[in-house]
Symmetry: C2
Subunit: 469 residues, 2 copies
């Protein structure tokens, strides 16, 4: 079972630990207050709630003595900024989390209203309890505990909390670009990931990048009668199927020439860490209603998820899709195609290779267009990077076991932007249980994960203060 | 230019020709009255109009002395039946046309209301003027002229006029099956086709059959995140593309094993007739906004349309088709696939071959289902069949030129049913100009085509009376 009980150790620093224990009720009440704000960023009628959530965060930063706190407007939802830069000689860490949450539909599947948090069996149930207001909140309290119990932070921090993560961080990139100068830091710390299956401590060291394209195949001006015209007209839907089929080999590998050219082979250590990760293929398949796990031979499933690039059709359409029959040759057909990218692949270069391969093999008699819809950079911080090692040590301090090292298959826009725009190493240190129902009804967070996470953050900052970044 | 002026000769039988000329105004008025009935069979609020159109036809059959006239109810629209069987020793011909018409939208593209017929420059503009009320109407007047001017028909006739041709003749098959005994005949004569490009007289000797199937590819229980799952899950849309691509070879031929096994090679005469037909590839491509005509090498375009089987995707769909991007692995993907069939192919056998080939090559990790949606039989009557030769001679009598012999790519359900259910040879003798806008706004019929067609029918019946069928 996932989400199983987790034990964490008290902090060795007694004054800090006493503070944390003494304020536990106040902290939980504050956490629940934060969760009561329905900060659904994608719905325009929650605009005022988004501002309220941002103000909630800003108010707490100010109250604990963080400097330069601002609720910085964007074309979308505001970004909350604040810094504390009084640890001369110590590294500066940019701390990121997001205060927006996923929509709540289907509402009827929630056992309790999503913005009326309840605590039950050590779990907090509410939208955002885990993703990501819970993780944002523990950063507020890690800083507060250090400041109130000890009067100072062990290192310099810049808090950057955004409200558009669930809608693609659209306005985060221009804000980052505009504020690049004042965001000087040594490391970006993101808390928006979680623990591994079985609720085991884990550090996410890598995320994949993305190249998302659309293929448009255009034939006759209008749909044609398949009887009258069949035999003399290139069918755009048949042509599209041929184009798409040609993109992959029978073994599941991608057939686009050069696709793997920049793939960075795994290090010995990376291979070992992948091999350490438990993964039950039968369980995975059963869980998703699949006959079997299907992927490139020669790679472990979790390697294929995190460390190999992929090509998937995200959508395909053209012609008639109703009940029964309509005998047409469709005028056009389309596919959305995306690739997940890993080090050292470049999204634009990948797009160009895809486009060139598609166009070079385009069937006669139709127009084929391939266009780029969007891109995202991959992110990877080495297992032996000092910032990763410090995170690992902090987890051992609190949970008493070596963490797993994960490379996730998806993307977090902020992670890619911190890497590409600010050129910072990125550490993804998050604490949510793996079955937290983020993005689904009845989202929850374990209070053990929260409290252990809080202590881990404190320890991480303390350890980072002693590291040369 | 199509629809160009056509000259026809008066009938040699002076009494008949005089009758036709004397009644020309009455006939036109009657034709326009028929067109005023908005007999749109597919729209349920035109049900009363359908009955009115059927009664219109029945009333005229009765008035001219046709026996056993009935408006025969079906689960859909009625079938009008009547016979005249007093030509002992002469053949019996089943005459078919349909009184239902296509819907009229987009209505704003009509220059005049579709059910308010007008005559302009020798053309009748109205929905149904050509397809098929005009052609039904000239049969009424051919019989009436022979009966009123000469007191008898030269051969035995059974009129069968249906009201569901434009909606797939759904209730025609059970009606035919139920009335098989009393429909004994030697030949089925269908007037629902037209002249060739340039308004040249033509006989349609063949129609293609149909096999329409759907392929359903099912993967995970729900759409999955392409980042988290990409690399370990067979993507149903990729799998579908691979399945569909495998159905055709690069040269456009069908790759399903055995697909062509029952293909009947063209006779020398058929090849000659195909070669006689003018076809301008550049004009065809331009007319449909295409770069080029694309089809199997080694066959003329009109052979590929009428005498070669095809395989086309009629629709394909799965996953996300909106603006922008959604990064999913679709839970399922689907395609509608149909084949046009020619002698001596069997629709069910073709389906089985397709299904077996698809299933044998189905990618791992997904469920693939192939199901038959519907079928239709092909139809072919030889150029040297006596009924074809008589039709050809009748066209020469009236229009003074050898007709073209066409094999059309589509299907007319009735033609297939007369062949398969009643086991009759089928002659498709129709007179509409090729650019008559049937199924489109501003449908029209040339009065020269109508009057020439009327005389051709008279001559055809006279000639058939002398032929051993």
């Amino acid at each position: 079972m996932n989400g199983q009980a987790l034990s964490f150790r008290p902090l060795a620093d007694e004054r800090l630990e006493t503070y944390l224990q003494r304020t536990a009720d106040e902290r939980l009440a504050d956490y629940l207050d934060f969760l009561r704000i329905p900060s659904i960023g994608t719905l325009s009628d929650h605009r005022a709630d988004m501002v309220a959530a941002a103000e909630f965060v800003a108010e707490r930063l100010k109250r604990m003595g963080i400097d330069n706190v601002e609720v910085s407007p964007t074309a979308g939802h505001p970004i909350v900024y604040g810094d504390w830069l009084h640890a001369a000689g110590a590294p500066t860490v940019l701390v990121y989390a997001h205060y927006d949450v996923q929509p709540v539909d289907p509402l009827d599947l929630w056992r309790r209203p999503p913005f009326e948090p309840v605590v039950e069996d050590g779990r907090v149930f509410a939208r955002g309890a885990a993703d990501d207001k819970g993780q944002l909140h523990l950063h507020l309290w890690a800083a507060r505990a250090l400041l109130e119990a000890g009067g100072r932070l062990p290192l310099n921090l810049r808090f950057v909390f955004e409200g558009e993560e669930e809608s693609g961080s659209t306005n985060f990139e221009p804000w980052l670009a505009a504020n690049r100068q004042r965001l000087a830091a040594d490391l970006a710390l993101i808390s928006d990931t979680g623990f591994f299956e079985g609720n085991r401590p884990a550090i996410t060291i890598g995320l994949r990048g993305l190249m998302y394209a659309q293929i448009d195949v255009t034939g006759p001006r209008v749909d044609l009668h398949s009887g009258t015209y069949g035999g003399n007209v290139q069918n755009p839907a048949n042509a599209l199927a041929a184009i798409v089929a040609r993109l992959k080999n029978a073994d599941g590998s991608v057939a686009v020439p050069g696709f793997y050219d920049e793939w960075r082979p795994l290090t010995e250590r990376e291979r070992e860490e992948f091999a350490r990760l438990p993964f039950d293929e039968a369980d995975f398949a059963r869980g998703h209603g699949l006959h079997s796990v299907v992927g490139e031979p020669g790679h472990l499933p979790l390697e294929r998820r995190g460390a190999r690039p992929t090509l998937d059709v995200n959508g395909i359409w053209g012609g008639f899709s109703g009940e029964g029959s309509k005998t047409i040759i469709p005028a056009h057909a389309h596919a959305k195609i995306s690739c997940r990218l890993v080090p050292d692949m470049d999204p634009e270069r990948t797009f160009e290779r895809l486009r060139d391969f598609v166009l070079a093999g385009a069937p006669a008699g139709v127009d084929v267009d391939v266009r780029l819809i969007n891109v995202g950079q991959w992110s990877l911080t080495a297992i032996d990077h000092p910032a990763t090692e410090a995170a690992s040590a902090a987890l051992v301090d609190v949970f008493g076991e070596q963490p797993y090292y994960l490379r996730e298959g998806g993307s977090i826009p902020a992670a890619a932007l911190f890497g590409s725009l600010l050129e910072l190493p990125v550490v993804l240190l998050g604490f949510t249980p793996p079955d937290d129902q983020a993005h689904a009804p009845n989202e929850w967070m374990s209070l053990d994960n929260y409290e252990g996470g809080l202590r881990t953050i404190v320890r991480y900052w303390q350890r980072l203060a002693e590291v040369a970044l």
